[in-house]
């Protein structure tokens, strides 16, 4: 079962920040400066946690992974001002 997550982070060091920012693109959609929205199954969630903990320094940085609920059924109530918000999907990509 896929679940929806918000991942946000405080990373002190610019190089680590860039590295994390780049790695996060493999797991979800970039929302804002240090915030991503992800839709993950149990395996990808484990891989995300592993990738994050290998990049950050635990005594300087701080990463939050917030679980919003099951991706198919959760009703995310978001008030979006000055921009738009779309829950991340995992569909076949056809171009």
């Amino acid at each position: 079962m896929e679940r929806l997550y918000i991942v946000c982070y405080d990373v002190r060091d610019q190089r680590r920040w860039r590295k994390l920012y780049k790695a996060m693109h493999g797991y979800g959609e970039w929302l804002q400066l240090s915030v991503f929205q992800c839709r993950l199954d149990a395996v990808r969630k484990l891989r995300l946690e592993d990738a994050v903990s290998r990049i950050v320094k635990q005594d300087e940085d701080h990463v939050l992974i917030m679980d919003l609920g099951p991706a198919e059924s959760v009703q995310v109530k978001v008030k979006s001002i000055g921009g738009s918000f779309e829950p991340v999907r995992n569909d076949a990509v056809v171009v």
Binding site: G26, N90, V95
Partner: protein, 559 residues
């Protein structure tokens, strides 16, 4: 000693957990991750860094108290027929203990604090260490999540059980006969190979009264990336595949979420992107604009040789060929009949499909099921197909309306009208999907039972997709026409043929994907499953039938 390879101690653990699992992994080379194995791999990586050294020979001095703390130690012994990579070996002088790291907490259900497979595993590691001159009165299992060390005394009784397990595993491997699945075991839903093994389905089809649990359908599947726009260019950017057209990004797909890449026409893929796909075992298919298969790039291929051996053997057996072919054709006829019955667009006073037609198709199905030879079967199939396509028009929105779709007969190479163009494209998509499904389970898509092998024709895919032509391909064609998703202006006619334009092809692929994602209730197993997963289950059931584990291949038929 036998000429069997050394048993990896890890396999001994799997064997004690479930003999079928060890056979699948060790003999057949099957593997698949799930959340438990991924978690285990991550936790193990942290302890897997080599460090400290185990002396070649234990010290002979009785009073030697040199501390030993060696990580990631690999030892083997031809004498024992074993090989192991041990997480940690610790001790003093000549007395050591193997330490095995386990993800998770110490099981409170197991009386000794350690389950049988882990006991056997550390015991085998101890035997190996003793073979190399050390003395091992006990082993240790360390539970990472609860940070508990549990000691396992290597007594005579455990040593005997360990040796017996080794003999049994060797005997199984040499027999060439896969052990039966566990019976309704709580181990199965946690087993990462459940989707390959199909424990409940195999037992059910071998006439054991169990209702299959939806283990397979509980999995989330990654999704395909289709690139069919002209001059598209796919490259890798970190963990993402980026699709560009005229240097503009037009789409992206996260590699971790991509199950396959399909490239139509001139779409290009960079070498780094291709390497990454291969590394992650994401198959890449190359297709003409019309969706015809040109090639298929995969890693060195499935290792399960046994599966292919069974397939070839059965393919030379006329009786088995005919048995499977009859079932597949009968299945196709039943499903065509169902499609006609459900989608018939009659007039007000005659809304349903003519009874004579349905009866005739039912007769065709009976004949197919009893056909004495492949040649007769081919004739029956042809007759039924004629009947079906003569009535196909009755499932389309009226020809007289603004859509202007008209269908009289099935034609191809090249298709001459839009409906035929859609049908041809849909069958090409279905062929591709089945070719992928079959090769991903280790079968050879080119060796069929009904369709004869001709150059470059994926005969087995053509066999297996028969029952799904109406259910998936024809049904998508009906949907896109009847919903007005695809219109006459989406086609282009040239050189006596009719083809979809880019935009139309894209809409069609999207509709086809929606169909594959659609959930249905499995008529035999009763659980919910989508079509794409169903193709995999059916492919794996074919493997089980070819290996004589189930008496018949269950063709999928809707009611």
């Amino acid at each position: 000693m036998t000429d069997l390879p050394l048993i990896p101690v890890r396999m001994l653990n799997e064997h004690v957990y479930c003999p079928r699992l060890a056979y699948l992994m060790w003999v057949q080379g099957e593997f698949q991750h799930n959340e438990f194995t991924v978690d285990g791999a991550i936790k193990h990586r942290r302890v897997d860094r080599p460090g400290g050294k185990l002396p070649e020979q234990p010290s002979q001095a009785a009073d030697d108290e040199t501390r030993i703390h060696a990580r990631s130690v690999t030892l083997s012994s031809d004498e024992l027929g074993l090989i192991a990579k041990m997480d940690l070996v610790e001790g003093e002088g000549a007395v050591v203990a193997p330490v095995d790291y386990k993800r998770g907490k110490r099981p409170h259900k197991a009386a000794s604090g350690v389950y049988e497979p882990e006991q056997i595993q550390v015991c085998a590691q101890g035997l190996l260490l003793e073979e190399h001159g050390y003395s091992c009165p006990e082993g240790v299992v360390y539970f990472v999540a609860s940070r508990e060390r549990v000691r396992v005394p290597l007594d005579e009784e455990l040593r005997t059980r360990t040796r017996n397990a080794m003999t049994e595993l060797r005997r199984n491997a040499a027999s060439g006969c896969i052990p039966a699945p566990l019976e309704d075991s709580p181990k199965c839903p946690r087993c990462s190979l459940a989707g390959i093994c199909l424990p409940d389905e195999v037992r059910f089809l071998s006439r054991t009264p169990v209702q299959p649990r939806p283990i397979f359908a509980a999995r989330d599947a990654a999704k395909p990336l289709y690139v069919q726009t002209q001059r598209a260019y796919v490259r890798k950017d970190g963990e993402v595949l980026v699709v560009e057209q005229e240097k503009e990004q037009v789409a992206k797909a996260r590699l971790a979420e991509v199950s396959q890449v399909a490239l139509f026409g001139s779409a290009a893929l960079t070498t780094p992107a291709l390497h990454e796909c291969l590394r992650r075992e994401i198959p890449v298919t190359w297709l003409s604009y019309g969706g015809w298969f040109i090639g298929h790039t995969v890693t060195v291929g499935r290792r399960n040789v046994e599966t292919r051996t069974h397939q070839y053997r059965a393919s030379f057996d006329d009786g088995r060929c005919l048995d499977l072919a009859r079932r597949l054709v009968a299945g196709k006829i039943v499903n065509s009949r169902t499609l006609l019955r459900r989608n018939w667009r009659g007039t007000d006073d005659d809304a349903s499909a003519p009874r004579e037609l349905l009866t005739a198709l039912r007769e065709d199905m009976r004949h197919a099921g009893r056909a004495p030879s492949l040649a007769v079967l081919l004739g029956v199939e042809g007759a039924a197909a004629n009947r079906y396509f003569q009535n196909f028009q009755n499932m389309l929105r009226e020809a007289s309306d603004d859509l202007g779709f008209d269908f009289s007969t099935r034609n191809r190479r090249p298709p001459k009208d839009p409906v035929n163009a859609l049908l041809s494209f849909a069958y090409a998509m279905l062929t591709r999907e089945w070719t992928m499904a079959l090769s991903s389970v280790g079968l050879d898509p080119y060796r069929g039972f009904y369709h004869q092998p001709r150059f470059g024709r994926p005969a087995l895919a053509l066999d297996m997709m028969e029952p799904f032509r109406p259910l998936v391909a024809d049904s998508v064609v009906l949907t896109v026409i009847n919903n007005g998703e695809i219109r006459p202006e989406d086609f282009i006619s040239a050189a006596g043929g009719c083809n979809l334009k880019d935009a139309g092809r894209k809409k069609f692929i999207q509709a086809f994907e929606r169909r594959l994602q659609q959930e249905i209730t499995h008529p035999i197993f009763k659980y919910r499953i989508n079509y794409r997963q169903l193709f995999e289950v059916q492919s794996r059931l074919l493997v089980r039938w070819l290996g004589d584990e189930i008496p018949t291949y269950p063709v999928f038929m809707t009611r």
